[in-house]
């Protein structure tokens, strides 16, 4: 089999069963798994963003007692494979504590365990994206707000958070796209998502290539919708600050996108 790969004998491609392909493409087989993938993506990513905010503030804190635990969290969750984290939460954690009732939702429900693993992992990446957004804010912005008599809380709410969100938005939308693909890892803890459904199907009919192609199309559908959404978001928020106040600010914002988005994409 492996030896013949280079040659591609004519019979191999002829073996593509288009009948099986189209039948499973237009069956309702993948509809529920796709909805599940979308639901897990939205929940895990959104929760990851929400957790990322306080973690980012902790990461830039001057207080070591706050900063060090956050650093340790990022070290572990960015330094180990996501697949390992999924298995650890779903299968390992309850065993470690000798199956306490409180962990039942995780050990008995793969969807919950998987979503939780994706969330905790994503929170680590969102922390870095939000941190780079926070650090990209021109200190002059804070000077100006302070000089106007605004309190730290008012400055956070009206100056820092809105500007950080603008800087962090493009890489964050990118994270939604990554997340939708990472849900496929939950196949190992038998969550009924797209890839697991495909696996079950082709182990029954042996049409591996056809079924995986159909699964690929469903993923492409999800990522295409998210990409269109991303373009929309970028157009909407790019317009107002296309030539930001000053070149320095624009440059920092640009590195904000690239640094944050890049870091997230690579390591996943």
């Amino acid at each position: 089999m492996t030896g013949s790969l280079l040659l591609i004998p004519p019979g191999v491609l002829a073996d593509f069963d288009s009948d099986v392909f189209f039948r499973s493409l237009f069956s309702d087989l993948f509809i529920q798994p796709t909805l599940l993938v979308i639901a897990i993506t939205l929940i895990a990513q959104t929760t990851g963003i929400i957790l990322g905010f306080p973690l980012a503030l902790g990461r830039i804190s001057k207080n070591r007692l706050i900063r060090l635990p956050v650093d340790a969290y990022l070290y572990v969750f960015r330094g180990t494979p996501l697949l390992l984290q999924v298995l650890f939460l779903s299968d390992g954690l309850a065993l470690l504590f000798n199956n306490p009732v409180i962990l039942d939702p995780i050990s008995h429900n793969a969807v919950i365990a998987g979503t939780l693993a994706l969330t905790l992992n994503e929170a680590a990446y969102m922390t870095e994206i939000i941190r780079s957004g926070l650090e990209a804010i021109d200190p002059g912005q804070i000077d100006a707000a302070r000089a106007l008599g605004m309190t730290p809380w008012q400055i956070n709410r009206r100056i820092i958070i809105p500007q950080t969100m603008r800087i962090a938005l493009p890489p964050t939308v990118n994270e939604y796209i990554n997340m939708s693909k990472n849900t496929s890892l939950l196949t190992v803890i038998s969550v009924n998502e797209i890839l697991a459904t495909a696996g079950r199907q082709y182990s029954a009919n042996y049409r591996v290539f056809e079924i995986l192609s159909v699964a690929a199309l469903w993923y492409l559908l999800i990522t295409t919708i998210l990409t269109l959404l991303q373009k929309q978001v970028e157009r909407r928020f790019g317009e107002r600050q296309e030539a930001a106040v000053r070149p320095n600010f624009a440059r920092r914002m640009f590195t904000g996108f690239r640094g944050g988005g890049g870091a997230g994409t690579e390591a996943h």
Binding site: D138, D143, A144, A147, L148, G149, R158, R240, A244, V245
Partner: protein, 258 residues
């Protein structure tokens, strides 16, 4: 100067960044309606001193009073300085206007929102009143047609005029200018200086300006001050400051910029 209480009253201000002593005992009084121009070589401490006046920088020792109120600190019975809470300092800063070299307009807000933000949030001014006042100020800096624009669409000179309007919207008792024209293209300097001149001559605003604009100093300032090496070297009416400086360091400095 001795009769009336000064608007700005700074006594023996010391400030250090780590091991570097930036201000080595600076004292300065500014009376109501006075325009003081501060000059000096970069790194001499002039901008730092200005930033101490509204507590954007902490000080090690000394006193800073604006309008008779100590800024940033209260003094214990033992004479030690204790920093006020952020909330108290914020309230103190509300009466002190400041304009920055880099304008520092808020890029995510329109020009109008930039100006109305602080009056509404800090003073609790109603939206309609704040907008009305903002439009008057935009009128006075010559930019009423830019109210709904975002700062990115404005030239540097226009941004700085908006920044002046934004500071004035708080009805400050004193305005601090930190090199307001240094970041501008040469052809845009004039419009900002013109706005500042009108503020001084027509509104009789008390102003402390760190700037190297000699023309502005000669024409508008009541006093020109040279700060170098963390101390005030020369403090004189502009005429004497530029034509007959008493100190050698002032002469050296002027020979470089004139």
């Amino acid at each position: 100067m001795a009769q009336e209480n000064p608007i700005v009253h700074a006594v023996d201000v010391h400030k250090r960044f780590g091991h570097l002593e930036v201000l080595k005992g600076v004292s300065m009084d500014v009376t109501r309606g006075q325009v003081v121009v501060i000059m000096g070589p970069s790194g001499g401490g002039k901008s730092t001193f200005l930033r101490c006046l509204n507590h954007l920088e902490k000080i090690e020792s000394g006193t800073i009073e604006v309008n008779g109120h100590a800024i940033g600190y209260r003094t214990t019975s033992g004479g030690r300085l204790v920093e006020e809470s952020a909330k108290v300092v914020a309230r103190q800063r509300a009466d002190i206007g400041m304009v920055f070299q880099r304008f520092n307009l808020f890029p995510h807000m329109t020009v109008l929102d930039n100006i109305t933000l602080a009056p509404m949030m800090v003073r609790g001014t109603g939206r309609d009143d704040a907008r009305k006042r903002a439009m008057e100020l935009l009128e006075s800096v010559g930019l009423p047609q830019k109210a709904e624009e975002y700062p990115a669409r404005l030239s540097g000179g226009q941004q700085q005029r908006v920044a002046i309007a934004r500071a004035l919207a708080m009805d400050p008792t004193v305005m601090l200018f930190d090199e307001p024209t240094s970041a501008l293209d040469p052809e845009l300097v004039g419009e900002v200086l013109e706005t500042m001149k009108r503020l001084a001559t027509e509104n009789h605003m008390t102003m402390v300006c760190v700037t190297h604009e000699v023309g502005f100093a000669r024409e508008v300032a009541d006093r020109a001050v040279l700060i170098d090496g963390g101390v005030i070297v020369e403090d004189a009416p502009p005429d004497r400051f530029f034509n007959d400086p008493q100190h050698q360091r002032t002469q050296q400095f002027l020979s470089k910029i004139l």
